[in-house]
């Protein structure tokens, strides 16, 4: 995530990672790629920045990881835990509240 993002975007990387992991298990590189492609390259993690987030989420028991060999390569796969799912619900609700508020304001200005 770019450093110039305003502070109200704090929590967005967490939301994006949890949202992706809610669908399927993923490894670090895959998460970065998915965020880039699924947001139409509007959002992009710094490649290394994903790991501090993942380790933090794992220490908070929001995600769990396991080492798995796929196509001859060992990778750490992350998946959402029950606590992570609850956190995702809370973040999604907060995100919806913020975007609704911003949309209302923008609508007022354009009207």
């Amino acid at each position: 995530m770019k450093k110039t993002n305003p502070s109200f975007l704090n929590g967005v990387p967490e939301l994006l990672v949890l949202r992706l992991l809610a669908r399927q298990e993923m490894y670090g590189y895959q998460i970065v790629e998915e965020i880039r492609t699924r947001t139409g390259e509007a959002l992009a993690f710094g490649e290394g920045c994903i790991y501090p987030y993942l380790y933090y989420l794992e220490a908070e028991k929001q995600v769990s990881s396991r080492r798995q060999e796929v196509e001859g390569r060992n990778r750490n796969y992350y998946k959402l835990t029950a606590r992570g799912r609850k956190r995702l619900e809370a973040l999604t609700s907060e995100w919806n509240r913020v975007t609704t508020g911003v949309s209302l304001l923008m609508g007022e200005q354009h009207a």
Binding site: G28, Y29, G48, Y51, Y55, N76
Partner: protein, 231 residues
């Protein structure tokens, strides 16, 4: 090992990252780098260019090492509040330590069969040889408790990934506390105090115990860093 990974590993070592976490962090970032390199090769870059591209995408390894350590630190209460944990809690640890010490002594008394038998206890404190043994046991327990409290804070510092600096700070405060807070037994009396004038035998030794623990931890950390510094 590629240029990016080695500086990352060294910086993590310098920051006091425990070996188990360090191996995992390095392995995972190396995997990520390999994926980036393969993606760059797939779009037509040469091996060397793909390497450079992968390194550039990952950013500065030193900054990444610090961010990784920060993320690990943030996940513990004592890592987020390290000033309180390592600067203030050692001050409170000593009164608790005393209480534990007294409980331990009473337990020891019960274990040796004295219990609340005042006649037996009086016989011990009135007998200079027996009292000398009792005082020696108290002294040993006092030293052991100081070392244990210091080790507890060292262990917390390692668990919270706050680095050697805060480990040394907590040891220094433990040392100061060990000098200032004191307890002393005499026949029929137990004294506790909070002053520099404790009238203890070798009061400096109590203060030296946490510093010895800090020195041992520092040497251990340096040895680990040197042992694993070679690629």
């Amino acid at each position: 090992m590629p240029d990016f990974i080695e500086p990352l590993r060294r910086r993590l070592l310098e920051l006091g990252c425990p070996m188990k976490q360090l191996r995992r962090l390095v392995r995972e970032v190396a995997d990520h780098r390999e994926d980036l390199k393969q993606a760059a090769v797939a779009v037509g870059l040469s091996g060397a260019d793909a390497d450079a591209c992968a390194n550039a995408s990952l950013g500065d390894p030193l900054v990444l090492a610090e961010e990784l350590m920060m993320a690990l630190r943030r996940s513990f209460w004592w890592g987020r509040h390290y000033v309180v944990t390592f600067g203030l809690l050692p001050l409170l640890a000593y009164p608790i330590l005393w209480a534990l010490l007294l409980v331990l002594q009473m337990a020891l008394g019960f274990a040796l069969g004295y219990g609340w038998n005042w006649k037996k206890l009086h016989a011990v404190v009135n007998n200079p040889v027996a009292f000398h043994h009792l005082a020696t046991v108290y002294q040993f327990m006092d030293y052991a408790a100081i070392a244990l409290v210091t080790l507890l804070f060292c262990w917390l510092a390692r668990r919270a990934f706050v680095g050697l600096k805060w480990m040394v700070v907590s040891c220094a405060i433990c040392s100061l506390c060990a000098i200032i807070w004191w307890g002393r037994i005499e026949p029929h009396s137990f004294f506790m105090g909070f002053s520099l004038n404790s009238h203890l035998h070798m009061p400096w030794f109590r203060g030296a115990i946490p510093l010895l623990v800090a020195a041992a931890m520092y040497v251990l950390q340096r040895r680990t860093t040197r042992r694993f510094a070679q690629p």
